[in-house]
């Protein structure tokens, strides 16, 4: 199928990178996470409950909602933290959240990973000279993130392709069942850093979730 691709762009100060990324990634994952499936006999299943949590940002005038799952939050924070460390103080980078499905292949071929939705968040880091500018930046970035959340919601509510609900045997090809309280669609996070000259000097593709190419 065709993979849906969405690009979001933000310009932030260095200290805002982490929270801005968390806000957007968590907003997307909120919509792409389900409760845990519990399969019963007769091919039916029941779905667990997803809780939500309001998170206030410290460096941005913004509050976002994330899924109430500490495990998931840890994974996302780790990925964002690595991305932030790789970004220089006034560089550009892009972090991508890709949802995919696994398609089992016969031996000797390994499983295919077929993305069905990719969110790319382009980040432009700026340096600000004084406190007044930083205060303005706090508010402006908050407003921008609000616009991005509206964009995300708009895309998701088009209700375009979603993988079919899997049978019990197939659930691991569609969902990430490793967490104990929620069940997001299978996803992986990768990032790229561009240096300040705009050339992609090191396209660091780091696989931060190990599902994809494993046999």
């Amino acid at each position: 199928m065709n993979c849906r691709s969405e690009v979001l762009e933000v310009t932030v100060e260095a200290r805002q990178v982490e929270e801005a990324m968390l806000a957007l990634l968590h907003t997307i994952l909120l919509h792409r996470s389900s409760g845990k499936f519990h399969y019963k006999k007769e091919g039916t299943y029941s779905i667990g409950t997803v809780g939500t949590l309001d998170i206030d940002c410290d460096f941005i005038d913004f509050t976002f909602v994330r899924v109430s799952s500490e495990e998931l939050d840890r994974v996302i924070r780790k990925a964002v933290s690595e991305f932030k460390d790789a970004l220089s103080s006034d560089g550009m980078g892009q972090i991508s959240l890709e949802f995919y499905q696994k398609k089992k292949s016969r031996w000797p071929f390994s499983d295919e990973c077929i993305p069905w939705e990719v969110w790319s968040i382009k980040v432009n880091v700026v340096n600000l000279a004084n406190e007044q500018e930083r205060q303005i930046c706090r508010e402006k970035v908050g407003e921008k993130l609000g616009e991005k959340v509206i964009n995300v919601v708009e895309v998701i509510n088009r209700h375009e392709y979603l993988p079919k609900m899997p049978t019990q045997s197939d659930v691991d090809n569609v969902f990430d069942t490793s967490l104990k309280d929620v069940q997001p669609y299978l996803y992986k996070i990768t990032y790229q850093i561009t240096d300040s000259l705009g050339t992609s000097v090191s396209t660091t593709m780091r696989r931060l979730i190990k599902d994809t190419l494993a046999l």
Binding site: H31, G35, K40, Y45, T52, T63, S68, V153, E154, V182
Partner: protein, 471 residues
């Protein structure tokens, strides 16, 4: 238009839409309570959470929503609206946003009710959770308290947006197609926050400039709103498991994906200590069909005033026994120090310590009459020299009053400002600066000087050699 829709599906769809409407109202109102909301995920389905989302039910809000719906469902031409407004402590109010749950004629006949519609409604609720934190009213609601409060009003029927001022913006949260129509959830929000809507207000000065202030005090006291709907704050007993069941108990399970049964209403603990939303008499600005605000006027506005002020200043304690105070002042009084023996005519005088003193005090003020000292090699030593007499001698003439420094809090802590001040206002003098010791050493030095000179003269050769070495 339920051709092709089985009775079971129709029944399910109605149920979904009804509970979706109720949950929508809960999400919106809870997002305007002024506090962060948090619920827990649960891996094992309890069968009590609609749309697989943990959204608590505030009973009053459910009650208001059901009253507004009056047994009907949102349909074509019948929208359910939640109006959020702001009301200042002076009584001025302003609509901030209107959330509308509408249904239009566009049907999606092929969609599976029990599964796809349900899941899409769940996604739509998640979107609502996200969007409610993004509109401008969210920030205002987080800062509500002293100066203003946030109210909500639910009505059913035609959407009314005239109260939002010019240039209001619309954001679409999402749509879900169903076999009987398309469910649409939108929000229209005011952008012109500096503009007070022109209602019958006496005040012409705009107040919004003060309210939209990032440094509004944290939530505290304030008069309760009299009209314009219900305050967005609520506190119920702190229990997670629902107490009363206000909701309809419908224990039907849907097949294939076992959908939850109707959830019991859960009591929410969030919100300020308002102690319950009480319907107040009011004149809604628009002639809405439903009058959720016009209810029994049992609670008058006066009664509605709840003091939500935190314990800011504690009452000052009565001054301690003068005898105790007397004992506290048996110290040398250094220079530059306010004398503690001040007579206060009234104990209530907060600045008693600074009250004008009698003339007799001036006699003993070291600043006015420097104490005598034997030799004063330097002015510094004179000023540091403590008064010869102890403080106790003078204290006989005056009544000791407990020294209460201005702006200090009550003496509940072991070391409050007053005690600290008292203890450290009479520090003992530094030994090295003590006059008689330095005088003594000076005298000794002078006496031993001839002997030292003799010794140095004897060793003059050594000194010369040393100096040569250095050069």
């Amino acid at each position: 238009m339920d051709s092709g829709l089985s009775p079971q599906d129709k029944k399910d769809l109605d149920k979904f839409i009804k509970f979706f409407a109720l949950k929508t109202v809960q999400v919106i109102v809870q997002a305007r309570l002024g506090e962060k909301i948090g619920t827990r995920s649960s891996s094992s389905p309890t069968g009590s959470d609609w749309f697989n989302l943990a959204i608590k039910d505030i009973p009053e809000v459910t009650h208001e929503a059901k009253k507004a719906l009056a047994g009907q469902l949102p349909g074509i031409g019948r929208s359910m609206c939640v109006e959020i407004s702001l009301k200042t402590s002076e009584g001025d109010s302003m609509e901030l946003e209107t959330w509308c749950l509408e249904m239009n004629e566009k049907c999606d006949k092929d969609i599976k009710v029990s599964y796809t519609v349900y899941n899409r409604l769940s996604v739509l609720l998640k979107s609502l959770l996200a969007i409610t934190r993004v509109t401008p009213a969210y920030k205002l609601s987080r800062k509500q308290g002293h100066d203003y409060v946030i109210l909500y009003r639910i009505y059913f029927g035609e959407v009314q947006l005239n109260g939002l001022g010019e240039g209001f913006q619309m954001v679409r949260v999402g749509v879900v197609g169903t076999p009987v129509g398309t469910v649409t959830l939108t929000c229209a929000y005011r952008t012109n926050l500096a503009f007070m809507s022109n209602r019958q207000f006496e005040r012409s000065a705009p107040i919004m400039g003060i309210i939209v202030d990032h440094f509004v005090d944290p939530p505290g006291g304030g008069p309760r709103p009299v009209n314009m709907g219900h305050p967005c704050n609520y506190r119920a007993p702190d229990e997670d498991d629902g107490g009363q069941y206000a909701g309809v108990q419908d224990s039907q399970e849907v097949c294939t994906t076992s959908f939850s049964t109707s959830p019991p209403s859960q009591v929410l603990h969030a919100g300020k200590d308002h102690g319950g939303v009480v319907p107040v008499p009011g004149q809604p600005p628009h002639g809405a069909d439903a009058h959720p605000t016009a209810e029994n006027a049992a609670n008058t506005p006066g009664k509605r005033r709840r003091r939500r002020r935190r314990d800011e200043g504690r009452r000052s304690a009565s001054p301690s026994d003068p005898v105790v105070s007397l004992n506290a002042f048996t110290r040398k009084i250094g220079a530059f120090v306010n004398k503690p023996n001040v007579t206060a005519s009234s104990l209530d005088l907060p600045f008693a310590a600074f009250a004008p003193r009698g003339l007799d005090l001036e006699e003993n003020d070291p600043m006015v009459q420097p104490p005598d000292s034997p030799t004063c090699p330097s002015p510094l030593q004179a000023s540091l020299h403590s008064q010869g007499s102890e403080g106790s001698g003078q204290q006989d003439d005056f009544v000791m009053v407990d020294f209460r420094p201005a702006f200090s809090k009550d003496d509940l802590l072991p070391m409050d400002l007053g005690t600290f001040y008292r203890e450290f206002q009479n520090p003992p003098q530094l030994a090295s600066l003590s006059l008689h010791i330095s005088a003594q050493s000076m005298a000794d030095d002078l006496d031993s000087l001839p002997e030292k000179l003799a010794v140095y003269e004897k060793n003059i050769d050594e000194f010369d050699a040393f100096v040569d070495m250095l050069q």
